[in-house]
């Protein structure tokens, strides 16, 4: 599998912006959609459009089958123990909110503690803050060092008898370093503390086996791994999901509704209130299929070579400071957040945009990381397997030109 075959699968790659070829380097925010995903959405919307789980008619049965078979595909993709442990949501944010709320309601008491890391994006901070505020619990922060590496050793100090859950990213959307999940989870479990893994970036770049890493919850979005936006997954161990109260009420999440009292459907449907995204969720099937193909050795080597080139060029520029430097044991994904001395990240992003290059600038939904490094924002490029060496070279040339304009 080579990059040229892959590019044909993504129609947006032939788009022009301002008359120039689009160079899409904002994949950590959202990936592009392959034709297989677009076609799946179109197919369901034009042939199998009916509300799922309810009616007995043929179209509804087809739609339900598309949706429910996706649950099996996701279960296989992350090697979950059972399909009942896969809850569909609208994305990582919704998944984390669900856990924070339900965990809070059922397992948190006043004075209990929750730990998140300093490198989390807002979606894995704010839901916990909200829950802690509601329950009178305390939010503690696992720090990162100057290179952006999570200071795992600090867990020993932070974890107390009041610690009820730890929530960490597999890979930060700013730093791009692959955190040692197994080590974190083994330690937390030795203290009897469950772990939620925010896999928003991790699911795209790592092979995830939730049974092997033994996390208690794993959250990810479809839109970053080529599926339709508004799709998401929460993996949760059954023992927790069954103990949790429902999150939202309504739709098919019930067993029986009486004014004298309502009983709820078994997991995972208990957590899927209201009409589900039945056109979007099934796009996870072709998306995950493609993600599996992207693990191809030849392609992975190509991606690594593009990443190495960018690292070499950026690190070699004395004006550029890269955040997130892996130590010998850590791996870094093809993502670079950096600042340029004397040039504002937004100015650079605006100029690069006019050159046809889509990059991210600003706080990247991770204000505490910006504060940690004392910057108002950063510039970020994040690559996917469809990005080429030629694009990387064009980016470096364009970045130099943009810097030249600003300094």
């Amino acid at each position: 599998m080579n990059v040229e075959n892959i590019r044909n699968l993504f129609p947006q790659l032939s788009e022009k912006v301002y008359g120039k070829d689009l160079v899409y380097f904002d994949n950590a925010a959202t990936s592009l959609r392959p034709l297989t995903v677009i076609n799946k959405w179109t197919d369901i919307s034009s042939r199998h459009n009916a509300n799922i789980h309810r009616a007995v008619h043929k179209t509804a049965v087809d739609a339900t089958e598309e949706y429910e078979s996706t649950r099996d595909a996701v279960k296989d993709f992350i090697n979950a123990g059972s399909r009942e442990e896969i809850v569909f949501t609208s994305g990582t944010t919704a998944s984390v909110n669900l856990v924070a709320f339900c965990f809070g309601e059922s397992l948190i008491e006043e004075g209990d503690e929750v730990i998140v890391s300093e490198e989390e994006h807002h979606s894995n901070i704010v839901p916990w803050q909200m829950m802690c505020q509601r329950k009178g619990a305390v939010l503690k922060v696992l720090p990162i060092d100057d290179d952006g590496c999570m200071m795992i050793g600090e867990l020993e100090r932070l974890c107390t008898s009041r610690t009820k859950i730890v929530a960490v990213a597999q890979i930060s959307n700013v730093l791009g370093l692959v955190n040692p999940l197994k080590e974190i989870i083994t330690f937390c479990h030795s203290k009897g503390v469950p772990v939620l893994v925010d896999g928003a970036q991790g699911i795209v770049h790592e092979s995830v086996d939730v049974q092997d890493i033994d996390c208690d919850f794993y959250a990810f979005s479809g839109h970053k791994i080529y599926a339709a936006p508004g799709t998401g997954v929460l993996y949760g161990k059954k023992k927790f999901l069954e103990k949790f109260p429902p999150y939202m009420g309504g739709g098919e999440m019930i067993e029986s509704v009486k004014f004298s009292g309502t009983t709820y459907a078994p997991v995972p449907v208990k957590f899927e209130a209201g009409t589900q995204n039945f056109a979007g969720i099934p796009t996870l099937k072709p998306a995950l299929e493609l993600a599996n193909k992207f693990k191809d050795k030849e392609l992975s080597e190509y991606v690594a070579s593009v990443s190495e080139y960018l690292d070499y060029k950026l690190a070699g520029n004395p004006r550029i400071h890269i955040y997130g430097k892996p130590d010998a044991n850590l791996k870094k994904i093809p993502l670079f957040s950096f600042s340029v001395e004397g040039a504002h990240h937004e100015d650079l992003a605006l100029i690069l945009d006019k050159m046809g290059i889509a990059v991210r600038s600003g706080q990247m939904c991770a204000e505490p990381v910006m504060d940690r490094f004392g910057v108002s924002g950063m510039l970020r490029i994040s690559l996917a397997p469809y990005n080429t060496m030629e694009e990387a070279e064009y980016f470096i040339k364009s970045l130099d030109k943009a810097i030249g304009m600003l300094i």
Binding site: A343, H344, L350, I351, D353, K354, M355, M405, L406
Partner: protein, 138 residues
């Protein structure tokens, strides 16, 4: 004779129309930003921040002989160029002149459409602040 506010606006519209590419227009804005009169560090306080901008923009003013004189700064140079452009047009004008202007020269330049929505919001906030200052002093 002093140019009217409309004449200054027309000058900028003409200046911008000379550049075909937005990259060149950015270069012009960058120049405007670089040439903006220095703004005192002591004036970079939260109450001078223009709300709604993604990068930080400070806007201050004084009133002399019935005219409003604006000073401003930003940590991003293109934004600084934009506020510099606004200052070139509206600084030294009377509140009445500012309030009777329809700010349509922004559209004639094509500035708003060529900024990302967040930047465009910032531009709208800058204009709103200038109008508010004019109203306060009218």
């Amino acid at each position: 004779m002093e140019k009217t506010l409309q004449e200054v606006e027309n000058d900028f519209v003409e200046e911008f129309s000379m550049y075909d590419e937005w990259l060149d227009k950015y270069e012009y804005l960058i120049d405007l930003g670089k040439n903006l009169r220095p703004y005192p560090e002591s004036g970079k306080t939260d109450d001078k921040l223009v709300r709604g901008c993604q990068s930080r923009v400070w806007l201050d003013y004084k009133v002399e002989n019935g005219r409003i004189y604006f000073t401003a700064d930003s940590d991003a140079i293109i934004t600084k160029g934009i506020i510099s452009l606004l200052i070139s047009v509206y600084s030294g004008r009377t509140p009445g002149e500012i309030l009777s202007d329809d700010f349509s020269f922004i559209n004639r330049i094509g500035l708003k459409e060529n900024l990302s929505p967040t930047r465009a919001n910032g531009l709208v906030s800058m204009i709103a602040t200038i109008k508010a200052v004019a109203e306060e002093n009218s």
